[in-house]
Structure formats: C-alpha cells, structure tokens
C-alpha cells in the first residue's frame, strides 16, 4: 500500500477514535459506541504498524527505531508534500 493511502486510512481511523472517545466520556455505558471504539483502535493499530514499518516512526519515543534513526526524515506534517490529496482536490492556484 502506498504511503498516501496508509496515511489517509490512519487519519480517518484516528479521527473517529478521537470523536468516539469524547462521546464515551459522557456515555460510558453505551455498549455500541464502546465496541465501535475498540474495533477502530484495533484497526488503527494495524495501519499504524504497517505505516511505521515502511515510512518511519510517527512518534519519537513510542515507535520502534528500526535499523536506523528515521525520525528527522522529511517531509514534516506542515509541509505540503507530507499530506495526502483529498479525492477531487486539484491545483487551482
């Protein structure tokens, strides 16, 4: 799988997890929300592992270091080339 695709999947899953986490703060007995939350965390874990194995660590003190230290590798998230394109998003400058 390509980097853009993996990153997009991970972004989507993490975004859902953040939202469900907020929901669960005030709905702790909602079984359905909790099950969904758990399944998203599981999926995100797998995508995160694949991404990191191929494209380097996402965190400087939680991720495995691999064969060589890739943390400072560019691009960084604030640089345009880091991020995936939304579908249908063309250059209009």
């Amino acid at each position: 799988m390509e980097r853009d695709e993996l990153l997009k999947d991970l972004t989507i899953l993490d975004f859902m997890a953040v939202d469900l986490g907020l929901f669960l703060n005030t709905h702790e007995n909602d079984r359905e929300a909790l099950l969904t939350y758990n399944s998203i965390i599981e999926r995100a874990d797998r995508v995160r592992q694949t991404y990191e194995k191929m494209y380097g660590p996402l965190c400087s003190f939680r991720s495995y270091g691999g064969d060589y230290w890739r943390w400072p590798e560019e691009p960084w998230p604030w640089e345009e080339e880091f991020n995936f394109e939304f579908s249908g998003g063309g250059e209009e400058r």
Binding site: V18, L22, G56, C59, W76, F84
Partner: protein, 90 residues
C-alpha cells in the same frame, strides 16, 4: 503528558488564496476569542471540575483544540496569501 505524532488530525488543502479569509482565520487562531486562548482555558478549567466526566472532557478538548497549532502558521498564511498581499495589522 502530551505525545507528538508526526501526522495531522485533519489535513486541509488550500485551493484558492484569500487574504480576507486569512485575516479572519488568524483572529480565530490567536485573537481574544481564538483557539489559543480556548485551549488554555479548557486545560485550566479541568483542574476545578467536580465530575470525572468534566475533567476528562476538558482535558480531551483542550488537547484537540491545541491540535491546530500543529499547522505551521507561516506556511498556512503564506498559502492563503500566496505571497501577494503583505500582511496588514487588523
């Protein structure tokens, strides 16, 4: 503690430059009612909350709101201005 992850919570793509919009957004960012102030308020308010739900939620939204500071303001506003309009004070 907070943990930095080398990715964005929600990437955006700036397709068109818009200096007027840039001015509005920069106010939302650091102005008196902006996100910078909001993040600090949420994170301070959590200390005086009574219920665990309120503590957790203020902790989490204070964290989420801070997420926008992972945008690089210079590159963001440069993209929006596209080096045409010089920055003017509000």
């Amino acid at each position: 503690m907070w943990i930095y992850e080398k990715k964005l919570e929600y990437p955006i793509k700036i397709k068109k430059t818009n200096p007027r919009l840039a001015k509005v957004i920069i106010t939302q960012y650091g102005g008196p009612d902006g996100e910078l102030g909001a993040a600090l308020r949420y994170l301070s308010q959590r200390f005086t909350m009574v219920t665990p739900q309120a503590k957790a939620t203020l902790n989490d939204i204070g964290t989420s709101v801070s997420e926008m500071f992972r945008l690089s303001p210079p590159s963001f506003f440069e993209a929006l201005y596209h080096r045409i309009a010089p920055f003017e004070g509000q």
